[in-house]
């Protein structure tokens, strides 16, 4: 196994707040890696660092062995890093089909001139894009929504379209920012199956942020727990879930006498 994504001592500060503090981890090719932690732990910030929306103050981020810090955010899709957004960032005034086709932008080979003339080459390319997108539609069962505008779709479907748009990129690494937030139990189940299939059938490495610990435990190979921008624990879902520091971060101290001690001290 080789490391596809490596973060090395990455630190990011917003003014006096250290959002991400010396975080180092590596995501192996072909695994599902989950980031967990309470609100404000820095999970989404790590995502935005990997998407190059933020520049780290210190440290290095490498993708497939090469540092990405010199690159622009829009070059990430070209490298094969696709992402979804926690609060859904779809193109509202376009159809599902058009949204998915935007995902194919990294595969664009025409230019202003050929596209204005719509040459046979561009037409062939369009067919190719359309075919690739149809595979995604098939995979995610989006057939009923092809021609629908995003603005009129229910929340659950939008979530799926976002995942589809990221898949249309044909990435090597897929960043899923809370893929199950706001979804029903059944929909979350679907997401779990899809992530499993994305890993095993498509061979895409997945890095995800998720609060639903059932989902995390059922699909991820390894989990990293963050709190206040610092790394708490890294390991299998079971190891992390039972790690004393993680339990403390979520529900307070594990010491049954902690409360009594505090009262005694006062």
């Amino acid at each position: 196994m080789t490391a596809l994504l490596e973060l090395e001592n990455v630190t990011l500060r917003f003014g006096g707040v250290t959002a991400v503090n010396k975080v180092s981890f590596s995501v192996e090719e072909g695994e599902v890696f989950a980031l967990v932690g309470p609100n404000g732990a820095g999970k989404s910030t790590v995502f935005n660092l990997v998407s190059r929306f933020y520049d780290p103050a210190e440290g290095d981020i490498r993708f497939a062995g090469e540092s990405i810090l010199k690159r622009q955010p829009h070059e990430m899709a070209g490298l094969g890093i696709a992402r979804t957004f926690q609060n859904i960032e779809l193109f509202d005034h376009a159809t599902v089909l058009q949204n998915l086709l935007v995902g194919r932008h990294r595969h664009r080979r025409g230019n202003l001139l050929t596209e204005t003339l719509f040459t046979p080459f561009v037409r062939r390319e369009e067919r190719r894009h359309r075919e690739a997108v149809e595979k995604v539609i098939d995979f995610l069962d989006l057939q009923p929504y092809r021609e629908k505008y995003i603005a009129g779709l229910p929340y659950g479907v939008r979530k799926v379209v976002e995942m589809g748009r990221a898949l249309a990129i044909e990435p090597r690494l897929l960043l899923l920012d809370e893929p199950a937030s706001g979804l029903s139990v059944e929909e979350t189940q679907d997401v779990a199956f899809w992530i499993e299939d994305i890993k095993t059938q498509m061979g895409i490495t997945v890095l995800m942020v998720e609060h639903d610990m059932h989902l995390v435990a059922s699909v991820s190979d390894r989990v990293l727990a963050l709190a206040d921008g610092k790394m708490l624990a890294l390991g299998t879902p079971k190891e992390v879930q039972t790690h004393p520091k993680v339990v403390e971060a979520y529900i307070g101290s594990t010491d049954p006498m902690a409360g009594a001690k505090v009262r005694a001290a006062v």
Partner: protein, 365 residues
């Protein structure tokens, strides 16, 4: 209501959804071509004027409707296109070269201006482009040896391979020339919309952060949109120059910029139809007012009354009415009427009501 049974991916790629649609547009084109036999010279001139405005409208529509970037400075590109075209002809270039070059020069100007300009958003972008329009106005005056400043320039007769075209001498030829350019621009516009470039425009319009994550170079895409938009507007400007015959820095003032923007809003943002509907309103409104005034004075039996500023007032009133009651413009209203008849009697009043949109990630700009 027609349901298209799609059997190949080409059904989504084709220019027309189905044969009947292509048929209607073919009929419209035939009607447009035979117009010189149906209209007298005066109304043919009005039709020509409308088409020129429609070209300019399509130019601005690419930027505002498709890419979501406001511009109050498009008169600048009209001016650049017009002056470039006429000056090149005065220096011996034939129209068939000077005309596309005029568009190209305006397009390149738009492309390069966009790099600093497109970093601005919303109202700031509007102000920035407004400054551009004022700047070009002054530049024309300053560059007097070239542009003849406030005195203005005469547009020469158009000569295409020995065929002289003059708006007054043979208006039907001028009309056909404008119609030809219009059709080419419509085709180019449609092609851009159905190709990756058009989708990246829409991506930038709806969510810049997301477009970036999809691999769209936002700055370059905006500059391309500015360039294409300015280029088409420049072509319209060149035709406007030939239509007016004489022009100076005042011909392309800020009012024209604002009128252009209001025109596409009234017509319906985001559609080619909108540019044409809006152009019809702008080009025909003065005539409609004149006819209306004649009728009123006829009733009153008095001599003709002239109310200064009436045209602007009525135009403003129409605009306010549209923003209040039909933000989607004339084209939006047309879609609703069509759907009403297609679905009769099942049309519901809130069918086109805008859905509440969900939370957006904080934009990272």
């Amino acid at each position: 209501m027609r349901t298209v049974f799609k059997t190949s991916y080409d059904a989504d790629i084709r220019m027309f959804k189905h044969g009947a649609q292509a048929g209607w547009y073919a009929l419209l084109l035939v009607l447009a071509v035979v117009l010189p036999w149906l209209f007298n010279t005066y109304w043919l001139g009005e039709a020509t004027n409308m088409l020129i405005w429609a070209i300019a409208g399509m130019g601005l529509m690419i930027l505002v409707g498709q890419t979501g970037q406001a511009s109050l400075g498009h008169a600048a590109f009209l001016a650049i296109g017009c002056y470039a075209n006429v000056l090149l002809q005065m220096h011996g270039l034939p129209f068939v070269l000077a005309f596309p070059l005029g568009g190209l020069i305006a397009g390149l100007a738009g492309f390069f201006i966009a790099f600093p300009m497109a970093r601005l958003h919303g109202i700031y972008l509007a102000i920035g482009t407004l400054a551009l329009a004022i700047l070009i106005d002054d530049l024309i005056v300053i560059a007097e040896p070239l542009t003849a400043g406030v005195v203005g320039l005469f547009a020469p007769d158009i000569s295409i391979f020995g065929l002289d075209i003059n708006r007054y001498g043979n208006p039907w030829l001028f009309y056909w020339l404008v119609l030809f350019v219009t059709v080419l621009i419509v085709l180019a516009y449609r092609n851009i919309l159905r190709s990756p470039l058009g989708r990246s425009f829409a991506a930038v319009r709806d969510s810049e952060v997301s477009a970036r994550a999809m691999g769209v170079n936002v700055a370059l895409t905006k500059a391309t949109a500015f360039g294409v938009s300015a280029g088409i507007t420049g072509l319209a400007g060149a035709l406007m120059g030939h239509f007016a015959g004489i022009f100076n820095n005042e011909t392309f003032n800020i009012i024209i910029s604002i009128q252009l923007l209001l025109m596409i809003v009234i017509g319906g943002l985001g559609s080619i139809h909108g540019a044409f509907f809006g152009a019809a309103v702008v080009a025909l409104l003065p005539q409609a007012i004149a006819i209306g005034r004649d009728v009123v004075t006829g009733w009153l039996g008095s001599s003709s009354v002239a109310i200064p500023g009436l045209e602007s007032a009525i135009f403003g009133f129409i605009l306010i009415a549209f923003i209040l009651f039909e933000p989607l413009g004339i084209y939006g209203r047309w879609i609703k009427i069509r759907t009403y008849f297609e679905l009769f009697p099942f049309y519901r009043k809130d069918m086109f009501r805008r859905q509440r949109s969900y939370l957006k990630t904080e934009r990272m700009r």
